[in-house]
Structure formats: C-alpha cells, structure tokens
Amino acid sequence: MMAIAEAKGASALRNAFGGILGVFILLLIGIFAFSIRLFSVIKYESVIHEFDPYFNYRVTQYLTNNGIYDFWNWFDDRTWYPLGRAIGGTVYPGLTLTAGSMWWLLNSLNIPLSVETVCVFTAPIFSANAAWATYLLTKEVKGTGAGLTAAALLAMVPSYISRSVAGSYDNEAVAIFALILTFYFYVKTLNSGSLFYATLNALSYFYMVCSWGGYTFIINLIPMHVLLCIVTGRYSSRLYIAYAPLVVLGTLLASLVPVVGFNTVMTSEHFSSFLVFVIIHMVALVYYIKGILSPKMFKVAMTLAVTIGLTVCCAVIAIFIASVASSPTKGWSGRSLSLLDPTYASKYIPIIASVSEHQPPTWPLYFVDINVLAFLVPAGIIACFSPLSDASSFMILYLAISAYFSGVMVRLMLVLAPAACVMSGIALSEAFDVFTRSIKFQAGDINSESSIAQNDVSNVDSNATTDKSETVSKEPSRKNHEKEKEQEIVKKVTSKSQNGKKLLVLPQEVSAVVILLLIALGGFYVGHCVWTTATAYSAPAIVLKSYTPDGLRVFDDFREAYAWLQHNTDVDDKVASWWDYGYQITAMANRTVIVDNNTWNNTHIATVGAAVSSPEKAAWEIFNSLDVKYVLVVFGGLVGYPSDDIDKFIWMVRIAGGVFPHIREQDYLRDGRYHIDAHATPTMLNCLMYKLSYYRFVETEAEGFDKVRRTEIGNKKFELTHFEEAFTTEHWMVRIYKLKLPKNRIQGKLKNKSSSETYSSNQTRARNTRRNPWQ
C-alpha cells in the first residue's frame, strides 16, 4: 500500500512538474512568436507596411477618434471621388475592433500608446495567441507533447510570418488565430460533448466572420467533417452538439456583420452547412428511433422512412437545383468557383487570374513557406490514423482540403500552414516518443519499472482522448450489441498494446542517431525561418533599402512625397494616382483620391487608366472633369525600383481598353512587345504616363538611361503643355504634377493647333476635335 501511495505521490509530483514546465514552454513559445516578428521594427522602424494595412490603420484611427457608432455609419468621402465609399458596411471589422479595443484598454490603464503602435504590434501579439490556440487544438487531437511541438512550429512557420510581421496590420493576422481557435472549440466540443464549448465555438466563429472572408472555409470544412463522420458510421450525440449550435448560432451571429449580412443564407458557399444540418437531424432521428424500437420493428420503420424520406428529399433537391441554376454563376462567387474548378479563373476571370496571389504555387514555394514541415506531414497523417478518433479525423480532413486549396492558390498556403504545423507536431512528437523511449528503456535496465511508468505517462495522455471519446460515445448513442463487442475488442487491443509497449523499442544506438538527425532537421527549420523572416518578409515596402559599395542607402521617397502633399496642398485637393497608392495617400497625406486598393469600381479605375494612357490634352480633360489638382506617378528608372508605374502601365492600358475601346493595347506595342526606347510607338511616347515619368529625365545623372528597363528612353526632350512639375522626391521615385490652369480662349486654340500636330494616331486627332469646355 505504501509503495502504491508513494508511486501515486511521485506521479502527481511529476504531473505537477510537467504542468509547470508546459506552461513555461508555452510562455516561451509566445515570446518567441512575438519577437521573431520584430525584425521589421529593428531593421527598419515601427511603421505600418505596404498598402492595405494603411487603410486598416486609417479605419482604426477613425474608430478611436469617433467611436463605434460613427465607425459603423462612416461614409468616406476622401476616396473614390466623387463616389465615396461606405466603409462601415464594406469592411470586415474584426481587425479594426480588436486593435481599437486594445488601444482603449491600454489607455484606460493609463498606458498612453499611439494608435499606430498598437496597430503595428497587433499581428505579433495575435501570432502568439495563434501559437497557444494551436497548442490547445493539437492537445485535443494527440496530447500535450504534440501540442507543444505544434505550437513551437507554428510560432515560426514562414507562411504565417509573411502575413504577420510587426507592421503588417492586415486581416489575416487575427484571422488565422480565429481560425485555429474555432477549430479548437469544435474539436473540444466533439471530445467533450459540452454545450458550453459549443457556444464558445459559435462565438469564435463569429469573430472569424468579423475578421476575414476566409470564414467560408470553416463553414464548409466543418459540415464536410460532420458528413464524413455520419457516412463512416461515427455519428454520436457529441457530434450533434458540436454541429447544430454552430450552424444556428453561427449563422445568426454572422448575419450581424454588415459586410456579410444576408449572404449567410443567400450564397451557395453556405448551403452545404444547411444541407448537412438537415441530414444530421434525420440521422439523429434514425438513431433515436433505433434506440426505442426493437430491431425488427426498426427494420420496418426504416424501410417506410427511407421511401418517404427519399421522395421528399428528391423534391427539395429539385427545387434547390432549379433555384441555384437560375443564377449565372450558380450562386458561387468567382473565387470559390476557381477553387472547385481550378481552370475556371484562367478561362473566364482574367482579373482573378492576373493577381499573383491567386496563382497556383510550385514546389519551391512549399519549401520556402512550410520548409521541413513538408517532409513531416505524411508521418502526421498516418499518426492521425492510428488510432482514428473524431478529432484526428477532423485534422486529416482539414489537412487534405487545405493541401488541395493551397495547390490552387498561393494565397491559401496560409490556411495550410496551421494544418501542416499540427500534423508535423504530431509526427515529431510521436517520433521523439518512440526513439527516446528506445534509449531510456534499454539504458535503465535496473530501473526499468519506473522508466516504463514514466514513459507511459505520455502514452496514456495521448490515448486518453480517444479512450474517453469511445466510452462517452457508448452511453448516449445506444449502439447495438455488435458495436459493443467491437468496442470491447478495440479496448482489448489498446490495453494489449499498452502492455506490449514495454517491448516496442528500437535499437538504442541507432535511435540516438535518429534523434540527432531529427534535431538537426528542426535546427534547419529554425534557421530557415529566422533567416527568411529577417531577409525576405520584414521589408515594409514603404521604406526601401539597398546595399551599394558605398554603403547602405535608404529610399524614403514615398513618405517624403506624401508629407509634401500634406503640407503643400489644400486639404480638399484631389490627387490622382494609380490605385496601388490610393490607401497610402489617404492615410498618410490625408488627401482625396480618385481610386484606391479596394478595387470595387472597375469603370473608375479604367477612367484613370484611360487618362494616363491618353495624350496630355485628353488626359488633362479627363482629370479636370474629375476635379483632380495633382497627379502622382511612381518612377523607378533612376534608382532601379522595378515595380513602378511604367512597369504596371500595360495593365493600365488593358484595364482602360476594357471600358474605353479607343484605347487599344496594340497602339502601345511594337511587334507584340512593350518598348519605351527608340522602338516605342508614337502613342506610347505621347501618352501621359510616359511624359510624366520621363519629364526632365535627361537632365539627371542617368542622362535618359532607364535602370529598370535597362535601355535609353525614346523621347528625351519634350515639354509639358497641360501639366507642370510640382514636386519630385530625392531619388525621383515619386513625382507629383499639377494640372495647369485652363488658358484663355485664343491662346488655348493656338496652343491646341501646335500641340495637335505632335499627336500621331488618328484617334487622338479625332478626340481633339471635341470641344474643351474651357476653350
């Protein structure tokens, strides 16, 4: 008795020690996840990155200044002039509300942080949260060891880091956390059958809907899992509790988000959840009847129900198909369709196909984004199958679906990354389990008893969930005798395997080498993650750096230009630029823009595209009709910044040509190629974009040699007639021009005559005959 009590005490102590160690490890993982994302702040500065985050930052600023109700009703007149945009109803508010409440909390605790600081560090904080959520999810599937490993892997997976470094204040940063949390609560409900967790599940789903359009992934994945469970005969009342409240509460909550609204019941993305909702009720009814009737009666009732059920089902499906078929895209959005049929986008929607994020990835991308996890995932899959539980089957389905989706769109690598981390965590932890056991068992021959006991702790832990699920499932679902017998057999097998675990070892010295190799593999992963984060993913895109023989050069031209706009132009002046820079101009210069990165109105974008691809006079007319005072172009030819406006110009022409047929792509191409040198077409040399980019370029030290295109420009010396240079930044990366005031009538006519001679294409001449209201 004493010995048993002693052993119990020892194991309790060991458990307590393990618990504390686990918490400590989790804390370290959280700190690690946070700090690895600070490279951008250390190497550059605490600044918001790229384009979309600037919009989110601006919305957050508005929220903190004006409060939630004003934010909800905010109509933004600083963008899409003259249309404006109703921000409250067209954004996913999750990120903004999160950062806003964090800021509010800190301020009410008398910690006076600026909104920008809070926004910059939101993503790293939520990455730490995501790592902890991964721990919880994996723990539900395969125990604590796997959970800790998976959390550590997720803390530094490059795919996720690329979207969540400090400063990249975008929806994905919080959405991945919400995604993992929702899955955790789903699996937790599945394992425990608790309505409390089911409610939490619906709430975290609501948070996910608030945060990201990717929530449709959840609302399709979970029904698929439920259906899979039903089809493979794994139905239980826990499954019902996990699913039914999620659909009812989740749908109600989701429709509260303005940007989603009635889409929750009207688009096909959500229909699968309702279909499965109906099915699970039918199955639940069948199981209930099966429980109260004798087997013979049940058979009769079954045949009756099946015949009636089928006729009703057919009628419903017919109505459903008819209603769906009446819409042209069958009720699916283009992006979802291109996921189901990968060739769809490339055939029918060039605007989706043209975005690099929507391209299918190649194998090197997997190596960069999930690195050695790509090797470990298959082992994790097989580990999830032995033994197969409800929770592990969910992880398998999640992995399979996300692996397929990531293969269609690069962007969805982000959804694959958590699944790959969980799977690799499981695989690594199982491998370490086996190999360390092999060393320990054979090393301590004398002390073998206690070592076995120690080793069994993790086994029991990992088997606990599955055992529990099997015992719990027995009671409410009232399975028949056969099933019970089967379960007994399963139990015998598991107990046998646990007894036999004493012998389940591999040769000691080889195991040691394998462990070393596994550690080396993990080390490679850490090295890769840290290196890619530091070099590839931390550049803010608003400040650029380049290393030259003379030393480090910093290009801060964008902020220079925006600051100039803010300080030297009137607050109501309208600034035209290509849509890429819209968010930054409104956020940093606080000036009204014509188009921005929320590309909701193609015609408006095409109008700007038509203006920059027209000759000066026609462009002036278009811009003047939009009340534009300043035109901003980005030019990289002097310093070799490749993604400038000339580089994007072919897209401007294409988009403009889609709406205005007089803009023809062929006019800008010579022999099917795009030239700015001496071979350039006259239309190209006379278009506004060319002129605004290369005006006075010959006077610089480059003397008309474009470093990006590596060629001398075609037309070096020309004057501007309708625009005047207002400001050019230090490295010429941003050039701002002002529209000249309209001339007097007579002067204007004379000017028109002389300038129209330089226009070569017939179309522009035809356009010139149209009267300018100013002349």
Partner: protein, 339 residues
C-alpha cells in the same frame, strides 16, 4: 532590261486576271444562287460548318461579286490535327450550332473550315502561315489577306471568345453557347432511377458499416495522395498546361526535366520533388508505427540505417534542388557583434 520584262509580264498578268475575274463574275451565278447553295451545304452538315476546298473558296469568295451578300467565318485546320486544334475545331462547331439555334432563319453568316493538305493554295490566298487561325471575311473584303483575323490570345477563351469575335465582326449576337451535356437526358433519367433504387440498399450498408468508406487504409491512402499531388504542384501544371518535360532546343535528343526559376516548374520535376517530400514522412511513420512492433532487432537496425540514409539523401536533395533553382541558401542569423 532585266528588270523591265518581269514588270511587263506582271502587268499583263494583272490585266489577264482582271479580265478573268470580270468574265467569271459575268458568267457566275447570281448572289441569291450562291446563298441558296451555301444554305444547302450548311443543312448537310450536322453542326452547320461547311467544309471548303480550293474550288469552293474560288466560287464563294474570290470570284463572288462584291459586296457579297454573306459573310464567312473560316476555320483553318489540318487533316491530322493535334489535341488543341481538334478541341478548337469542336468549339468552332459549337459556336456555329449555337449561332444556328439563335438565328433560326435568314442568317447570312456561314461557318466553314479549310484543311491544309486539301487546299494549300487557299491557305496562301489568306496568307495563313500558322495554326490555329480563324478569319472573318466580310461582304466588303476584296482581298482575302485583308480579312479580319482572330487574335491569338482569344483562342484560350474557346467558344466564348470566338462568339465575341463573331459578334464584333458581324454585329449579330451569337446567343448563349449551347454545350451538349456529357450525358444525355435519357442517361440522366436512368442514373436517377438507378440511384433511387439503390439508395435504400446503400443507406442500409452504410448503417451497417460495411462499405469501403469504413476502410481506414483507403482514407489514409487518399489523404497521402492528395497531399502528394498538392505539394507536387499538380494544380499548377493543370492550370498552366505545363508539359511533363521539354526538349532541349540546342540538342533535340536531350530532354529537360528541371528548369530554373522560382515561379515555374515542369510536370516531372514537380512529381519528383513531391515524391521526395512524401517519402520522408512515410519512412518516419513506418519507423514509428510498424518497425517498433517488429521483434527482430537486426531487421530493425538494418532498416533504420537504410531509412536514415534515404531520408538524409531526400532532404539534402530537396535543399540542393531548391538552391539550384532559386539560388537561395540558409544562413544563420547572428547579431553582428558575434561574428
């Protein structure tokens, strides 16, 4: 002198041709006859695409009086078409039949096709040098070389962009493209009935739990293969129609399986690396789940050693290939002070 003779000859030829054309047009049937003839030809073809040869090109195009009372859409094909051309030809037929369905009567737009082996001279009349090519010959087109050519980029859009081309050139709407469904309505009805009859049995079997769906190994194999195909970049190859390998331009006997560059890959390349990705995980799983249950220590040791070698080789190979392809190497990131 040397120069003059050809010129005179050319002049003569031109006069002769002009005379011939005027003669033939005088002798040729009236416009209505031609239309009637074309209509009968069209009614003989199931899809409405008329098969042309050199003589019919001469009859309906070169020698017909201007303006012709009809316009023609000509598809240029070959007698042994490759897969792509065959597909385009069937899409062309689809546009033709859709057009026919939309305009039941009085349509003066005819779809026809030409074959290179049969009517080589017509190809040169049109100035067609490469396939695929689709031309629109309007009523006013005097020279066939001036006929409107469909953009190469439009071929990727298949029937939809062909229909756009037709609409743009003839200003007649083609109407919705009627694609014949893969299975006929009768087959659908049959399948539905079969499903209805078999449904109770299927449901019963599912409830009993004795189907293939309950086989764990099936699901395992399925998941691993989905993962394998995903990391192998199969979708990339399908969407961009990437071949498994390409021939070396310098040396046609050599095949290229691997290409440099981050955003591209060949089919075989993807599968090779996908295999390397997958095999490592499978070996680890085998060692942790199957090998531990073996009793023979020598087998365990031997297998583990072999497995380690394979795994080490596979991981190194991927790292090497990735470095070769993109020039990327991993560096440890130490603070500058530590160096």
């Amino acid at each position: 002198m040397e120069l003059k003779i050809p010129r005179v000859l050319l002049l003569l030829l031109l006069v002769a041709v002009a005379a011939l054309i005027s003669l033939s047009s005088a002798a040729s049937p009236t416009a209505d006859d031609l239309v009637a003839e074309l209509e009968t030809l069209r009614s003989q073809s199931p899809s409405g695409v008329i098969h042309f040869d050199d003589s019919s090109v001469a009859r309906f195009l070169t020698s017909a009086p201007l303006p012709r009372p009809y316009s023609l859409l000509v598809f240029f094909g070959a007698s042994k078409p490759d897969h792509h051309l065959r597909r385009l030809r069937s899409e062309f037929a689809l546009v033709s039949s859709s057009f026919a369905a939309h305009h039941a009567s009085s349509r003066r737009v005819f779809f026809c096709d030409l074959e290179y082996q049969e009517s080589e001279s017509s190809f040169s009349l049109f100035g067609v040098t490469s396939l695929p090519d689709i031309r629109h010959v309007g009523p006013q087109h005097r020279s066939l070389r001036d006929s409107d050519r469909m953009d190469q980029s439009d071929f990727s859009g298949l029937a939809a962009s062909m229909a756009q081309f037709v609409e743009a050139k003839t200003s007649l709407p083609v109407g919705p493209i009627v694609r014949p469904s893969l299975i006929s309505p009768r087959q659908i009805a049959f399948l539905a009935v079969a499903l209805l009859i078999s449904a109770p049995f299927l449901i019963k079997r599912i409830l009993e739990g004795k189907t293939m769906l309950h086989d764990r190994r099936l699901w395992m194999g399925l998941t691993v293969s989905v993962y394998f195909l995903g990391v192998a970049g199969l979708m990339h190859n399908i969407i961009h129609k990437i071949p498994m390998y390409v021939k070396d331009r310098k040396d046609p006997n050599r095949l290229i399986f691997f290409v440099k560059g981050f955003g591209m890959q060949l089919g075989a390349e993807g599968f090779a690396v996908g295999f390397l990705y997958t095999i490592v995980g499978l070996i680890v799983a085998f060692a942790t789940h199957v090998l531990v249950r073996m009793r023979n220590e020598a087998v365990q040791r031997g297998f583990l050693l072999a497995a380690m070698l394979v795994v080490f080789w596979a991981v190194r190979k991927v790292i090497y290939l990735h470095n070769w392809k993109t020039g990327y190497t991993v560096h440890t990131f130490w603070p500058t002070r530590w160096r």
